[in-house]
Structure formats: structure tokens, C-alpha cells
Assembly symmetry: C6
Homo-oligomer: 262 residues x 6
Amino acid sequence: DFMIALENDIKPAFGVSDECFSKYILNGIINFGEPVTRVLADGELVVQQTKLSDRTPLVSLLMEGPTGSGKTALAATLSMKSGFPFVKICSPEDMVGYSESAKCQAIKKIFEDAYKSELSCVVVDDIERLLDYVPIGPRFSNLVLQALLVLLKKIPPKGRKLLIIGTTSQKEVLQQMEMVSTFNTHIHVPALSTGEQLCSVIEDFDCFSAAERATLQKKLSGKRLCIGIKKLLVLLELVRQTEEGFRVPKLLCLMEEEAGLE
Amino acid sequence: DFMIALENDIKPAFGVSDECFSKYILNGIINFGEPVTRVLADGELVVQQTKLSDRTPLVSLLMEGPTGSGKTALAATLSMKSGFPFVKICSPEDMVGYSESAKCQAIKKIFEDAYKSELSCVVVDDIERLLDYVPIGPRFSNLVLQALLVLLKKIPPKGRKLLIIGTTSQKEVLQQMEMVSTFNTHIHVPALSTGEQLCSVIEDFDCFSAAERATLQKKLSGKRLCIGIKKLLVLLELVRQTEEGFRVPKLLCLMEEEAGLE
Amino acid sequence: DFMIALENDIKPAFGVSDECFSKYILNGIINFGEPVTRVLADGELVVQQTKLSDRTPLVSLLMEGPTGSGKTALAATLSMKSGFPFVKICSPEDMVGYSESAKCQAIKKIFEDAYKSELSCVVVDDIERLLDYVPIGPRFSNLVLQALLVLLKKIPPKGRKLLIIGTTSQKEVLQQMEMVSTFNTHIHVPALSTGEQLCSVIEDFDCFSAAERATLQKKLSGKRLCIGIKKLLVLLELVRQTEEGFRVPKLLCLMEEEAGLE
Amino acid sequence: DFMIALENDIKPAFGVSDECFSKYILNGIINFGEPVTRVLADGELVVQQTKLSDRTPLVSLLMEGPTGSGKTALAATLSMKSGFPFVKICSPEDMVGYSESAKCQAIKKIFEDAYKSELSCVVVDDIERLLDYVPIGPRFSNLVLQALLVLLKKIPPKGRKLLIIGTTSQKEVLQQMEMVSTFNTHIHVPALSTGEQLCSVIEDFDCFSAAERATLQKKLSGKRLCIGIKKLLVLLELVRQTEEGFRVPKLLCLMEEEAGLE
Amino acid sequence: DFMIALENDIKPAFGVSDECFSKYILNGIINFGEPVTRVLADGELVVQQTKLSDRTPLVSLLMEGPTGSGKTALAATLSMKSGFPFVKICSPEDMVGYSESAKCQAIKKIFEDAYKSELSCVVVDDIERLLDYVPIGPRFSNLVLQALLVLLKKIPPKGRKLLIIGTTSQKEVLQQMEMVSTFNTHIHVPALSTGEQLCSVIEDFDCFSAAERATLQKKLSGKRLCIGIKKLLVLLELVRQTEEGFRVPKLLCLMEEEAGLE
Amino acid sequence: DFMIALENDIKPAFGVSDECFSKYILNGIINFGEPVTRVLADGELVVQQTKLSDRTPLVSLLMEGPTGSGKTALAATLSMKSGFPFVKICSPEDMVGYSESAKCQAIKKIFEDAYKSELSCVVVDDIERLLDYVPIGPRFSNLVLQALLVLLKKIPPKGRKLLIIGTTSQKEVLQQMEMVSTFNTHIHVPALSTGEQLCSVIEDFDCFSAAERATLQKKLSGKRLCIGIKKLLVLLELVRQTEEGFRVPKLLCLMEEEAGLE
Ligand SMILES: Nc1ncnc2c1ncn2[C@@H]1O[C@H](COP(=O)(O)OP(=O)(O)OP(=O)(O)O)[C@@H](O)[C@H]1O
Ligand SMILES: Nc1ncnc2c1ncn2[C@@H]1O[C@H](COP(=O)(O)OP(=O)(O)OP(=O)(O)O)[C@@H](O)[C@H]1O
Ligand SMILES: Nc1ncnc2c1ncn2[C@@H]1O[C@H](COP(=O)(O)OP(=O)(O)OP(=O)(O)O)[C@@H](O)[C@H]1O
Ligand SMILES: Nc1ncnc2c1ncn2[C@@H]1O[C@H](COP(=O)(O)OP(=O)(O)OP(=O)(O)O)[C@@H](O)[C@H]1O
Ligand SMILES: Nc1ncnc2c1ncn2[C@@H]1O[C@H](COP(=O)(O)OP(=O)(O)OP(=O)(O)O)[C@@H](O)[C@H]1O
Ligand SMILES: Nc1ncnc2c1ncn2[C@@H]1O[C@H](COP(=O)(O)OP(=O)(O)OP(=O)(O)O)[C@@H](O)[C@H]1O
Ligand SMILES: [Mg+2]
Ligand SMILES: [Mg+2]
Ligand SMILES: [Mg+2]
Ligand SMILES: [Mg+2]
Ligand SMILES: [Mg+2]
Ligand SMILES: [Mg+2]
């Protein structure tokens, strides 16, 4: 059913039980092209592998890519759609102001809960924030780092299976910490890079007229750019606030400033 | 009504409920020229966006500029005039001598209160002070930094909207901390840079005679200088203490020493 | 009986008392060639020496090699097969989120328990994790390091004998910490390095047909590669998920990407 | 009345309420020349400004100069003579062995007391000591530094006025800490630098005969030297202990050794 | 009686009261040549000096040499044979996992007990371990270091005499810490360096036949090598485990690998 | 009476009340020449100044010189002979294993006790040890340093006088810490540097015959050497243990090795 989902976009229509995922996928998953298809397909395979293999009761997947490229939304989507009986997002948002050791305990608790279910998925979101990482120094919580390094290798109890999905925009840092190689697999989540992908997102938006969309398509086709889906959505929302008629030039101007459109 | 306000200056005439803002806008907002108009207009747009957009329930704005350029007063003004039901200034002044973790809790509390209102504005004032930043080392509170980095990305609960306005005179430092890119928008708040702007402030002051003002206008027009509005007001106050007749040369002398007037 | 075991592979068939070792030897010990034979033989000698010598009541052995080369599984196997009345694995997995001093106490407790038995074996697994080591800084727990350095030299009480088996993938770091020279002996546990060794593992796997195995043997024989047994097993499991017929090219492709097969 | 005071020296004759200031002005203020006159005049202006201006309820003055140049005595004098209802010296002498946070609380308490009076003066003495500063490292209390940086900018409550006088012999260090620019004004307190200034102090001393003073005047006039008033007073006291007749050469000798007199 | 002891080896035959020393001299003291004779003679002189001199109630001796050269066994021997009423070994083995301050208190306690006896000897064993020293950083416990630096200079109470014997394999580090110069005397404890010394140890061992010993003597005489007595004993024990007939080549091979025998 | 004492040596003959000083002057003060005379005379002057001057109620003296040059014994002597009603030695020996803050409190307590007496003397012995100083890092207790820096400047209460005598062998370090300039006066305590001074000490010793002393005088006169009195006394004591007849060559040999005698 993933493949079906990919043909259309995944709309943010959550049931009660999905409530807590909704804020991570605020604007749904817009399928703006091959990268999205590929990320979801690769992720889906890892989900299946966890479900089916007996020899690998622990599977771990790192989703890495630039700021705002949609890592969290995609990880949340994968875990939510997995249908596993236990799915949990371990997010720094729930640990604001926690001491290193409180953070550690909270993380450990999530994994211990996961070990209790036969089939579990834990999303370890925004690893650099969980680690309190800052490039000045650099500084980070070694207590949390060591806990994660161990939990990423710890086989669940007999008869239990666990999928760990991590997200980060600091792959190089995690590599220095020898965390990247501790994950079994990696998926790169890229920013939008072509005019076609951008048009694809615009199609999905109700704020441009058909004529405007045609103009944009002509102007953008074949062009290179670089912008994360998250920032793009904020800018489109900004464009929407401007008066009709001014929107196309405004968008192109913003894309030049913020996305390096030539 | 912002635009109206801009035509005249914003005088510090606070009602009871505005009491707590008054100390941040001690001498009102003197509209000394284009930079002030622009900052207030741009800021106002961000306020409107927060109010109107449904897809971006979290909007964040960084006001950065040199020491004493009026960042705090302008942020306080924007938030106060927004008319949002919940407006709060998160200021280091209320956290003197707090431990890192007490600071964190205080900040977190303000955001949690904000999440309870449908439409909120939180001014995070003087971020380098909240972070206990000092260039020697450099040293800063990573606990507070991480809390801010997370709070700046955390979507408010369903149906709630939040505008975060940060102020800082240490943009480069925040950039290294990857905090600048976490804000959605930035507004630069410059110091006064021309003789015309200086004259504009002087017009607003009751301490020079019409003749003196004319002399100053002649002497200053076309000149470059560099001084924050905050320091300028202190120096004008000093000039006022000197005897009549000596004020014009005293002011010019001070501007040469302290504002680099040629 | 070790030598017999070596002729066949050691299958993971644990009794009740071996339960706790099973997770460390999840996929048994596949005897893929000379390195495995040698490691087990050398290890067995050290076990015998502990049992028989009177002048050396304390024997210590460091098993070092690249990530995933099978150190933990081999150490667990050696200790389990030793037949010593007291055998314990001191693993970071049981100390997630422990403070430095809690870690120390836990380690000390294991040794104190070992001293109570006439003949004991303690596996100190993943020493870099016990030390909370991270190359950035570098940082590590000096409290744990010092405890280990002392325990590695401390003669057990009169009439007691102790074998300590350490494992690490950070030999150079332990050398700088002067821990390597504190061990009596070292055994290098290498990754798989030849096509023959790889074929040996494949023989052991039920996922390829005889024809496929023959093809692989031809393609791989005489080739160099480099992959730890742990990662290899994950990849083979991945290959198993792909459709029949596609498995051989898939494996070869993976080996090129991940094991440097030419 | 300051100007009158300047004509004569300020003798240390304290009433009961001045008791606590006496130890900071142990040997009065000897008016040895222009620098003393200037420092007191400039300081007096700042005191008047605090009293009279309505727009600047917070005035801050940094008195900086070499070790022993008389900064503390002068700051104590200014504050004592201000006649403000609340005057307090915040001195490291009252915080020996305090923890960083106890120091912070003590400082904060003084400011909070000051805010309660309509017109207050707080002397923040020996800032480098309050900061526990040492050039090796360098090390200092960031907690105290941040508290001071905030208190130096914090507007007192409506209707209250506050003058803050800081003293330091480490101007460059405070500059790096961005504290110097946080003060509104600075006054430089120099060491004695001429033979004439030295003679001026000697005149004030009862230990030389008129003939000796004449000799000294001749020998010293036109000469350069460099010595803080504090150290000079200790040396004069030492000279006094030597036998009559030997005092003039002894003094000259000491001045050569310790004050660089040519 | 030391000199008599030197003629024969000191066999590990301990009475009840010597129980606690036995583990430090597990394999006795084998007199393999001049270095052993000299160390024991020099040590004995220091013991006598403590006993006899009235002007030096505090004598301190540092025994330093490479890892495993026998420092601890020799220090234990000297102290045990001194016949002093109070003899104590202050060893890191009894302080595993202690906090810095607990370590300090334990050390202090031993010295305070020693001060209560008229004639005492305290062996401060493995000083680098007591200091939690690690070359990475470097890191060490300054609390323990400072305690030792003071205790090494502190004169015992009137009428009491104290001999302190320290051991270390990190002389250069202790020199940087200014601890070496705090000791009154130093004795260097070398590793074995000649074939003759090695033969001397072999003579003492019951595992080679007379013929084998003759062969070894011929092969080894005049050769240079470098190995600590501690490691040598472990290797000889290993050789003993191999079959008769293979022992001589095995030993020579090991000596080439581990002792640099040419 | 100091000058009388200087003609003879000061023998260690303490009354009951002097008990606690005796351990600091274990072997009396041997007047081996000009340096001893000068140090005692200069020190005595400082003592007199404290007693007599009214304008300098706080006098501070730093005695600095190489390890073992006799600083502590001389400071103890000066303070003991001062006849001041309150005399106290603040020594690291009484603070073994104290935390930084316990050390601070202990030091503060001594000063507070001193302030209660009209005329007091506090010896702050071995300042580098009170500061827990170690050159690696360097590391030291900033808490203790700051406490000392403040106490060295703090005027005692009205009507009280205080003499502070510090000792150190780390003048350069204290200079970097800006502590040297905080002392009013400094006295250098040198090691023995001439053969004549050495002979002077030997004269004082009962262990050489008249003939031996004559030989030594001839051999040593005009020679340069460098040895602290403390170490010299230990070596002389060692020489005394050797057999008669061998003592002169033994002494000369030791002086060559340890004192650089040519
Ligand atoms: N194809 C898509 N992939 C991912 N997110 C998408 C996609 N289409 C729309 N979105 C929306 O874009 C936003 C992506 O934000 P998200 O927080 O997941 O980015 P991120 O990479 O985790 O950011 P950060 O680097 O700040 O952690 C979400 O609101 C999501 O609903
Ligand atoms: N156009 C203006 N913009 C901002 N402030 C103004 C303006 N006109 C007058 N003011 C007054 O100038 C002062 C500006 O001080 P403010 O504390 O806001 O500066 P700041 O940039 O925040 O300083 P700092 O860098 O120290 O935080 C206030 O008293 C405000 O009332
Ligand atoms: N010959 C073998 N040697 C070791 N392990 C083997 C062998 N054959 C199969 N295995 C299996 O391979 C896995 C080896 O993983 P193990 O955790 O022991 O590796 P490791 O070197 O300790 O990894 P790490 O470096 O992450 O600590 C185990 O599941 C084990 O059952
Ligand atoms: N003109 C003068 N200015 C200042 N102090 C004077 C003057 N004349 C005499 N004094 C006396 O000199 C001493 C100055 O010492 P004070 O402690 O004020 O110096 P300081 O600069 O604060 O020293 P430090 O740098 O150590 O803090 C006081 O005892 C004061 O009474
Ligand atoms: N001549 C000898 N000198 C010292 N030890 C000897 C001698 N002959 C035999 N031995 C034995 O050798 C061993 C020496 O080990 P010991 O622990 O004293 O070495 P060490 O130098 O203290 O080691 P480390 O550097 O690890 O602290 C002891 O078991 C001792 O009984
Ligand atoms: N002229 C002398 N001056 C000082 N000490 C002397 C003199 N003559 C004999 N002594 C003796 O020499 C010893 C000097 O040791 P002391 O501890 O004072 O030296 P120190 O310089 O303080 O050493 P350290 O640098 O280790 O602190 C004392 O035992 C003292 O009695
Ligand atoms: Mg994210
Ligand atoms: Mg501000
Ligand atoms: Mg392992
Ligand atoms: Mg001062
Ligand atoms: Mg030892
Ligand atoms: Mg001393």
C-alpha cells in the first residue's frame, strides 16, 4: 500500500491514534519526484526486512540530509505506516531542559517499552539535538551518545524485533562519533534540486491560478536550485499572503534569494 | 494602524496592561528615517502572517543589529501592538543569578504558557545573555542553547499559533551555533548612519532652540556617522545638562568622539 | 572438544544456563577458515593455562579487531566452553545511562563475585563503550579506565584463579591508555578477507541453490575483500529478501559496495 | 561642595554612618594635582546627571586605572559625598570563599535593595576580583559576569534612579568580556607621574622638615616617575621608620627602585 | 640479614602476619644479578637511616623503573623485612572505583595510623594509579596529587619516625608534577638486560633439564635483551605448558618476540 | 634581640607554647653567612613596621626562594620571635584532602581569628600547595587563589594590625597570578652557594673531627655550589651513617652529585 500512497501524495488525515504523529507531518508528504519515491521505497524495504527476517531481530536505519529536507516527516510516515504494534518517536521536543541523565533515562525507557512488544519501531529524531550538539567546542552530551551507541547494537530479548529509525542533518559529526557505522543502513533525504520538483510542489498548492502555474513551469523547467521542502512551504505560505498578481514574481524572487535559483 | 504610527513617532504612553513593556521602550520609538520604517513594516508583515496562515502555526523572527540600536524596544513594540491575547518578554533581566537549569525551566515555562493561548507572541530578548555567552573561551550555557534550538522548531499544539521574536547583537555567534538558520526570518536593526537621521532625532528633542537646530542641520547634512539610538539618547541627555549656548559644540564634539563624525 | 567443535561450526543451541550467552552468539560461530580456527585455538590455550598454572593465578587476554569481526561472539564462546564454575559477561548493554561511578561499581561487583569462585572467567566486552570513549576530544570515563587498569593487575585471593577476556575495536586508543600492555596476551580477530572465506560462509547459508553457490565460488575465488562477519550476515539476510534469481547479482553488487570486492 | 573639597584635601573624618566607608579611604584623598581634580569633577558631573535627568534613570560609570592608583578610595568618596539616600559598596572583601552562586546572590541582593530607594548609588568594587578572574587560563566566574552584564543594563523600576560606579585595574579584560561598553561612561584614574605630584603628597606628610622638603622639591621637579598613591603611602611610611637625616636619600632611592625615577 | 638473603633468593614463605604481603611478592625475589643486589642493598641503607638518625624523622624513597620490573615486590620485601612495628601498603587495588576524595581520605588514614607508631613504613604503591593518571589529556586526580605532595613533606609528630617508599613506572610524569624532587632518595629498578641474568632466572626454575639449561646458557651468554621479571615469569609459565623437547626453541622464540633478543 | 640571635645560631629550644612551631624549625636556624643575616634583618624590619606604623595596619611580606632553602623555618622563626599576641601558621599540612571550599573556609577562619587580636601575624606557608598548584595544565584552586588575593588586600578592622608572611618556591607562577604584586614586600631566601657557607654549616655539626673539618675547609674554600639547607642536612645525616674515615670523601662526592660542586 506504500506504492499506492506514492502515486498520490500522503495527505495529513490522521485518526485518533495517529494524533501524536500529526505534528511531525504537518503538511503531509508531497511526492515531488524521484527522491521521495526512492526514500519511501527504500524505507519500506527496511520495514519489511524487520518484519520478516529471523536472523536480524535488530534493524537500524539512519535517514540523513540537509536541514528541513523532510527527514522527520518521512521517518514519522514510515513508522506510522509500518503497522507495528509499538511505534514511538523519541524526540528532543519532549525533553526540553532535561539534564543529560534525565534525557538518558527517557530514551532508555522508550527502548525498554519497545522491547516489551514483539514488533516495535522507535524513531530517534534529530539525533544532534538529543546529543545537545553544538559545533563550538564542539560540545555534546557523551552520556546520551554512549547510551545511543549501545542501544543501537543491543539485541532485543528473544522473540522480539526492533526497527530503529534515526534522523540527522549532521552526518559528518555522527561519523566522527562512530555512530553512522553503527546503523545497519542509511537513506539520504535530499533537498529539492530541480525546477521540475518545485513545480510538482506548486501543483499541489491551491494558491496559483492555472495560468500562473503554466508561467512558472516555463520559467523553472531545466533550472537548478536547492531548498528544503520545509523552508519551501514557509515561503509559499508567505507568497500566498501577497496580493494576487504579484505572486509569481514574488516567488521567483524568493527562490533566487533563498534557493539559489539562477 | 502601524503605518499611521510610523508617520508620527510612537510615544511611550502605556496603559496599565502595558506597564511591563514600558521599561523596554523607555524613550518611545523615534522615527528617524527609512530604517525604522522598514523594520516596523517588515515586522508587521510577520505578525500578520502568524495571524492569517494556517499552514505555518509557528513563525519565528530574529531581530539583529549592533549594541544599542533599539532591538529590544522595537521587538517590545511589535509584540505589544500585535494585539495577540498572549504576549510575553523572556528577558535575562528576570533571571539574574539563575543556574543554567533554572534559566531553562523559566524559558520553558513561558513557552508552555504561550502554547495555552490560541495566538501568542514570545520575545526572546538578548539571546546572548540568555545563553550566558562570553567571547573568552568562548563560554555559554549549552543547556539553554539546546532548549532554545528545540523550542524554535517545536510546533505548538493543534489549533495554536505562536510568533517568536528573538533579539541579538551577536549574529555571527548565533550563526556558528546554527541558531540563525533555525529562525524563519531575520530583520537587521541598524545604528544611525547619517547626519539627516541624527537631525531627525534632534527635532524630536526639546533641548535645542530653532536656531541651534538649524545650525546643526547645516553642519550635519550629508555627513556619515555611526551610533546606536540608545547611546545617542544618553549623550543628548548629557548635552542637556550643559549650559545653554554650549550645547551645539558639545554635541558635535561628542559625536566626533563617540560616533565617528568626520 | 574445542578442536572437534572447530571441524563443524558451533551452532547456537543453548541450554537453560547458557540462555544469557545466546544473545552474544546470535548466529553461532561459522568456521569460515584459518582465522577462526586460529583464534579459537589460541584462546583455548589461554583457558588451559588459567586452569593449570599455579604461578599465574591471573591471566588476561585481549581480543581486538575491526568492528563486527565477531569478537564478542568469540569471547562469549570461549568463556562458555571453558567449563569454569563462574563465567560472567561484563557488558555495556547492562549499563545504559549509568553514571561513571555506577558503572564502576557494577564492574567491581562482577570481579568481586568472580574472586569468590575458585576458577572464574570475566568477559569485559566492548571496552571502548565501558569507557564511554568518543574520539572527539577525545573523551572517556577516567574513573572506569582506572578501575579496569587496576582490576587487570589485581591478583585474586589465595587459591583463586581468574581469566579476564577483553574485547575492543579500538586497540590504538587502549594502547595510548596503557591498557594493552596491561593484558598478558592479545589475539587479533580479523574481518573476512578472501573470496574463499566468503564462500565458506555462503555454504553455511540455506538461501542459495547449489548452482548459485557454484557460480559464486567461481566468481569469488582468488578475490580480496574486507567485511566483518556481523555485517556480512545482515547483508546475506537482505539478499534473502530479494526474489530468487536476483540473489547472486545482488550479493555481488553489495559485496562491491560494502566489502570492496574488485 | 565638591569643588571646595578639591581645594583642600578630603581628610578621613567619618561620622558614625560613614564608618563602613572609612576603611576604603584609609588615608583620605590627597589632592596631588590635576588628575585628582579632574577625576573628582568628572565623577561629580555623573552624580549630578543621575540626580537631575529623567530620561536616564540608570547611569553607570567605570573607574579604571593601574593597581593602587586610588580607584576604590575615589569611588567610595564620590558615592559617600553624593548624598543619595542609598549608598552601598559591593566589595569582594565581604565575599571571601563564597561560591559563584553565593556571590551572585549577594550582588543581586545589593541591587534589589538599591531599587527600593528613589535615588541609589552602588559601587561595584574590584570587578576582576568579584569575577574571580585570573589570567592563567584565563579563568573567571561566568555566572557573576553574566549577572553584572545584565544588572548594568537593567532599568530600575519606575520612579527610581540608580548610579553604578565600577572599579577595575583590568580594563582590557573587561573589554574582551564586552563589559566596558556596557558602562555609560569611563574615568581613567592614573598613577602619579611627575615629581611635582610627588612633592604635593610629601607636603601633606608630617615626616619631612621644611629643609628636606625643599631639597626634595629641587631634586624632583621636572622628573617623570610612575607609582600608585597606595604604594607611595606605604613607602613613605617605611621612610618614616628610618632615622631622621637618612630619610631624603632613602626616599629617593626607593623612588628609583619602585617608581622608575630617573 | 638482608645480605644473607641476597646470597640466596627470597622465597615466598610468609607467616600469618605476612599474609597481606604475599600477593605482592607472588613469586618471591629471584636474585638474578647485580641490579637486584644493588636495589636491595640501597633500600636496606635507607631503612637503617630511618631507624638510626634523629635529625631526619621523615625519610622518603622512590623506587622507579619500567613496567613489571619488580618494583612492588621489592618495596613490599623491603618494608616487610624492616621489622618496623607499623608497615602498610597503600595500594590502588584497595581503592577501585573510589572517588577522588574517598581515595584521599583512605591515603590520609594510612598516614595518620602510621604517625601513631614510633617507627613506621608506608609503601605508596603504583603512584600513577593512585593519581588516576592517563597520558591522554593528560588527566589525573589533583586532589590525590596534592595530598601526596604534602604528606611527603609532613614531619611526623615528635618522637615518631616514618619511612615512605613510593613505586612508579612514570618517573617523567612525576617529575613534571614536582613529586620526584619531593622524595629524599631514588632507586632505579631495571628490567633484565643480559642473557646471563635470564639464565640466572632459568636456573631457579624447575621446568628445564640440565641439558636444556646448558644449551640456553650457550645461546644466551653475551646477548642483550630487555624484559621485566614479571612478564618473564608469565612467559616461562607459558613455556612450561608446551610439551617437553619444544621448550627451548619456544623460549628463545618468545624472547626474540617479546624481549628483543637478537 | 634578633641581632643577638644572629650572632649565634637559633637553636631549636621551644617552650610549651612554641610546641607547634618546633616542627617547622626542626633543625634550628644555622647562621651560615650573609644571606641568613640579611633575611632575618629585613624580616625583623617588617615586623617592627607592623608594630609601629599607624597608617599601614596591614603589612604583607613574601619570602620566596628555591625548594628547601629554609623559607618555612625562617618565616616560623620571624613570626615566633615577633612577640605578637596572635601568631598562626596557615599550612597545607593541616588541610590534606580538604575540598577547595573547605580549604577556603579554614584559611578565612585563621584570618578572622587574627582580626580579633590587636596585633597579629599569619604565616601563609607553601602558597603553591595551598593553591593545589601543579604545572601540568596548569591546574590550581581558583577559589583559594581569589580568597588569598582578597585577604592580602583587606584592611583589618579599626584598631587592629596584621602582618601576613607568605612563603613560596614558585615566584613566577604567583607573578602570573598577580599575587606577587599584591604583597607589600618580598625577601629572597637563597640556597647555599659557596664553599664557605657549606663549611659554616659543617662547623655546626658534631660529626666531623677537627682535622676533617680543616681538610674540608681547604677543599671547599672559593668553590661554587648550590644546595638548599634542608637537603644539605639530610645528606649530612646520611654521611654520618657511613663509617668514620670515609665521611669526608663521601660528603665531597655527594656535594658533586647533588650540589653541583666542581
Ligand atoms: N515529500 C516530503 N517529504 C518530507 N516532508 C514533506 C514532504 N512534503 C511535504 N512535507 C512537509 O514538509 C515538512 C518537513 O519538515 P520536517 O520537520 O520533516 O523536516 P526535517 O528535515 O526533519 O527538518 P529538520 O532538519 O529541521 O529536522 C513537514 O511539515 C511535512 O509535512
Ligand atoms: N527608532 C527607535 N528604535 C528603537 N529604540 C528607540 C527608537 N527611538 C527611541 N528609542 C529608544 O531607544 C532605546 C533603545 O534601547 P534598546 O534597549 O531597545 O536597544 P537594544 O538594541 O536592545 O540594546 P542592547 O544591544 O543593549 O540590547 C529605548 O529606550 C527606546 O525607547
Ligand atoms: N566465525 C565467527 N566469528 C564470530 N562471530 C560469528 C562467526 N560466525 C558467525 N558469527 C556471528 O556473527 C556475529 C558476530 O557479532 P559480534 O557482536 O560478536 O561482533 P563484534 O566484533 O563483537 O562486533 P562489534 O565490533 O560491534 O562489537 C554474531 O551474531 C555471531 O553469532
Ligand atoms: N588622591 C588620592 N586618590 C586616591 N586615594 C588616595 C588619594 N590620596 C590618598 N589616597 C589613599 O590612597 C589609598 C588608595 O588605595 P585604593 O585601595 O583606593 O587604591 P586602588 O586603586 O583601589 O587599589 P587596587 O588597584 O589595589 O584596588 C587609600 O588609602 C586612600 O585613602
Ligand atoms: N628479583 C625480583 N625482583 C622483583 N620481583 C621479582 C624478582 N624475582 C621474582 N619476582 C617476582 O616478579 C613479580 C614482580 O612483579 P611486581 O608487581 O613487583 O612488578 P612491578 O614492577 O611492580 O609491576 P608494575 O609496573 O606492573 O607495577 C612478583 O611476582 C615477584 O614475586
Ligand atoms: N639558616 C637556616 N635557614 C632555614 N632553615 C634552616 C637554617 N638552618 C637550618 N635550617 C633547618 O633547615 C630546614 C629548612 O627546611 P624548610 O622546610 O624551612 O625549607 P623550605 O624552604 O620551606 O622547604 P620547601 O621549599 O620544601 O617548603 C629546617 O629543618 C630548619 O630547621
Ligand atoms: Mg527533523
Ligand atoms: Mg536589547
Ligand atoms: Mg562486540
Ligand atoms: Mg581597589
Ligand atoms: Mg607495581
Ligand atoms: Mg616550606
